[in-house]
Structures are given as structure tokens and as C-alpha cells.
Assembly symmetry: C3
Homo-oligomer: 107 residues x 3
Amino acid sequence: MHTHPFKLVTIIAEPVLESRLTSELRQLGATGWTVVEGRGEGSRGIHAADIPGVNIRIDSIVTPDVAERVVQHMATHYFAEYEVIAYVSDVAVIRSNKYVTQSRETR
Amino acid sequence: MHTHPFKLVTIIAEPVLESRLTSELRQLGATGWTVVEGRGEGSRGIHAADIPGVNIRIDSIVTPDVAERVVQHMATHYFAEYEVIAYVSDVAVIRSNKYVTQSRETR
Amino acid sequence: MHTHPFKLVTIIAEPVLESRLTSELRQLGATGWTVVEGRGEGSRGIHAADIPGVNIRIDSIVTPDVAERVVQHMATHYFAEYEVIAYVSDVAVIRSNKYVTQSRETR
């Protein structure tokens, strides 16, 4: 089975940012994503009263170009103001055409 | 600490497919998996009424051989009919014996 | 965009272990983590009455050194007694300083 090298971009953020982030992901060229809710602690330290913070985890399979744009976008627009984490890993996918934007704008 | 190279297979699918998929994973040689519920959008576009679709994410650590079989199985039996995503990444595990089928059929 | 190679440590365990595990992660040098709830089956076989077991998945981005310590810790303190899975994958992160302990102990 032939697989194709793609990037998995993972973003962990406050739930209030979900629709903004997924909208931006689409604009940056992502064609799909999954959102899972979780809780956690970030590097700014323990949350008040030891209550773990609620967050969302967004996973999106994208081309290397789109991954680069997403990472750049996160660094420019989020990292100074928000407790947001973004990381990229290598994945092998089948059906690689699912993860490439096909002039979505014109539909 | 000595670790062993394995594959992490991730499948994202409609919730209705969960028991079928996990049953097939077992038949294909996976010895365990985790299922997490999420929501998301796929490459077929925005869901009706802007309601994000509910999905499940299945993660399973398997040998490269089993990963190959799972990927082949997904491509053959799911990709034409279902909005299913499958991807494979490299992971290092300890206790590698946990992820290899030990004649489960004979128990 | 310059990214830095880090490790993503994933631990899958019983929910009752969450606070113990995250406390130990912090002691071992992790500066943050995300916890997601799921269900699953492990290599010890099918759960009684076909009820899938509830579990938690803890993800933490750490330096290679911390990943090594966490893996060693899991092997020493959990693998004999608990149905725990731990694996490590490579990720590229921006803002690498978020994932390095900065003398947290002295705060």
C-alpha cells in the first residue's frame, strides 16, 4: 500500500478559540480537522485552586506547506496573548488527495 | 531504556462504525486500542447547518506488518463509501510484547 | 519558521491514576500536559461483559531527556502492576522554551 508523507498539526487551546481557529485553518489550506475536548496544565503553571483547565485539541492532516503556514500563523497571532500550543509530526496517509485543497473557494 | 519502533495507526470515522472497526482491528492483529470521541470536518466540506460532525478517533499501536494490513483494509473496505481517515506514525514503545498478537485465537 | 525537535510522550492508563501520573510528570520535568478521556481495550484481553474500559490519555511535550526519564519511570513503577501504555513520538515545536522546566521548584 503506497502511503504519502504529510504533516499532522496539533493545536491545544482554550475552547473559546475553537471556531476562530478552525476557520483560520480552513483559510490556511486545511481541508479537515478533528476537535477533542480535554483538560490540562500548561507551562504558565498550576491553575487556581488546583482545578485543571479545560482545553481543546485540534488535529489536522495537511501538506508540509500548509503546516508551515499554520505554524507561522500561530506564532504570529496567538503565542503572545494565548496559552496555545502547536506542534507538528510526520504521518503517512493513504488517499492523499483528501488533504489537499481543491479550490474550495469556488464551490 | 531500550525502546522499540512500532506504528501508531489512527482512524477517524463515524461513531456507528466503532464496533465494526475495533472488531476488524483485532482480526487484523491489533492487540489494543483507545477510542476518543470528537467532532470535526472532513474534506467533503462543511456539514449541513454548520453543525460539526461527531466522530470517533481510534488509536492503536501495532507492528509495521499489522499497520500495513490495517491501511490496506481501510482503503479496500471503507474509503469509497465512508468519510474515514487513516494515518500512520512512528512511535517508540517500551514493553513491545504488549503489541504483538500472541495466538489470541487459541485462548 | 524555525521549529525544534521535541518528544511527545503519550500515556494511556486507568482514570484513577491521573493525579498521580501528572504529579509525577511534573516531578520528572514536564511543564504541561493534556488529558483526554477515552475507552479502549488492552492486550490483556476483552473486558468482562464486553464493556469497553474507560481510560485516560495523557499527552506531554518534553525534551528528549525528560522523555527518557518518564519512560524509565513508567517501566519501573507501573508496568508490572497496571494496564498502562506509554509511547514516544517525535514532534516539531515552535516556542521551545515552553517545554523546558525553568526551575519550577524554586517558585
